[in-house]
């Protein structure tokens, strides 16, 4: 447990210095604030940008950040040093996961300032769950990629699918049908209803299956490759 805390502390210290990861955390919350406050298009659904950017944030930031952190440690051979110091691979992964989840929740908290107070608990609960799925997927990439370059090229398509599918789905019914199978699109639907009572069994099931797949994939990757 002490090692998990150490990893979180290490990451927190690195946050402001690690520009490539920092920009992932900051971009969508800042864009949301700008769009929700500065842009006023008539007939635009309420909180359109806040909801859209939330799912894009979810599909992008945790995934990229986790994969970037793990693959950088592999490339620079610092992960080995940690393992040699008897930090267990799961302690490391949990530490990185907790860190990224926490920072993303702070980002979600910033976005949440645009929502009416009564919707905020629902919003944060849904985001919290979605971030976990994205983190598991990011960890899979981090485990498979031997270095940062491979990690970036593996993350890109996955991230594009998860974060852009919900946006493209608005313009095209066919895409919408496919996009439905991804948790980010389902979470977008959840955010449109914005009530715990309004969660359709279908949405719940799809998000659960996504989560299950991500977690199975993560354990499979971890068992196969470990953190070498």
């Amino acid at each position: 447990m002490r090692n998990v805390v150490t990893i979180v502390k290490k990451q927190l210290k690195d946050t402001l210095k690690n520009k490539t990861v920092l920009i992932q955390f900051v971009m969508f919350p800042v864009l949301t604030l700008i769009f929700e406050h500065a842009i006023n298009i008539p007939d635009m659904p309420e909180l359109f940008f806040a909801k859209l950017f939330s799912v894009m944030y979810m599909g992008m930031a945790p995934l990229t950040a986790v994969a970037a952190i793990i693959s950088e440690e592999k490339e620079k051979n610092t992960l080995r040093v940690l393992m040699m110091a008897n930090v267990k691979p799961w302690e490391y992964l949990i530490g990185v996961g907790i860190y990224v989840w926490t920072i993303c929740m702070v980002g979600a908290g910033v976005i949440a300032t645009s929502f009416p107070a009564k919707d905020i608990p629902f919003y944060l609960a849904v985001m919290a769950a979605g971030f976990i799925i994205s983190i598991a997927v990011g960890a899979c990439v981090g485990i498979f990629a031997p270095n940062q370059m491979v990690s970036t090229s593996m993350v890109l398509p996955v991230m594009l699918v998860f974060s852009f599918a919900p946006m493209l789905a608005m313009f095209n019914d066919k895409i919408e049908k496919i996009a439905r199978i991804f948790y980010t699109q389902q979470i977008r639907i959840l955010l449109n209803n914005m009530t715990f009572d309004g969660i359709k069994p279908e949405s719940f099931a799809i998000v659960a299956v996504n989560a299950l797949l991500a977690i199975i994939l993560f354990f499979a990757a971890f068992r196969k490759k470990g953190l070498e």
Binding site: R2, K10, K17, T78, M84, A85
Partner: protein, 287 residues
Amino acid sequence: MIEAKNICKRFADREVLSGIDLDIRPGMIFGLLGPSGAGKTTLIKIITGQLVFESGEVKVFGKNVADLTGEDKRQIGIMMDDHGVYDRMSCADNLKIFADIFGVPYSNIAKTLKEVGLEDAAKKPAMKLSKGMRARLRLARVLMVSPKLLFLDEPTSGLDPMTMRYIHKLIMEQKEKGCTIFLTTHNMEEASVLCDEVALLNEGKIIERGAPEDVCRRYNHQRKILIHLTTGEDIELAHDTYSAGKISSLMEQGTVETIHSSEPSLETVFIELTGRRLESEEEVKYA
């Protein structure tokens, strides 16, 4: 401290280590010498449990590596040749991570940085360090936990002579504190200066071992007297009575410009045993 019997290791179908025996006693500096690719790093990895091996037996602190407890491992400092540091973090923050992991008091951080001469760079990000400073930071990381057993994989490779001497001093200080040290190097001079015992590793086999001076003494036939004459001619003489007469007659003629005696060194011993040098030509040039 470390006992190994008949260690064999192969990668794919290539045998990298073939039957290595070691017996490293507490408090000594043991040097594993060998050219690049000889299997030095592989052997350290096996002894420290980072790599599985086909056959043989390794004991550290009298236990099989797999049976070492967390407390045992805490007393072992390992610096592999490719280990990195956190570039964006300061020297002090780099050490802090490991102080947290090992439960070492934070007061050790400043103390260790001072020990390795990095006290002025404590707040500097690691990426702004020179190569020599970086090497000292990597060393600080293992020294901070006051290890009883230290593995140093090529601790001075590629460093300037001044940093090299500094690191030698640090290694000697550890020995004085009672630490047992296992180091690898392809610098034979380093090994003669530092090590109580050396083993020459070549193509996966230990071809010679013992205290550096004993090893050299065994090759006393290499001792020669080299004379450079005023005529520009060089002559090589053996260490014997015949040579004494020859030298004195040359002296009387006044034709001796310089006179040297050449002793066997670990380097010449290695060359005799293998027909190859320890360091590659480029490395000699840069040294």
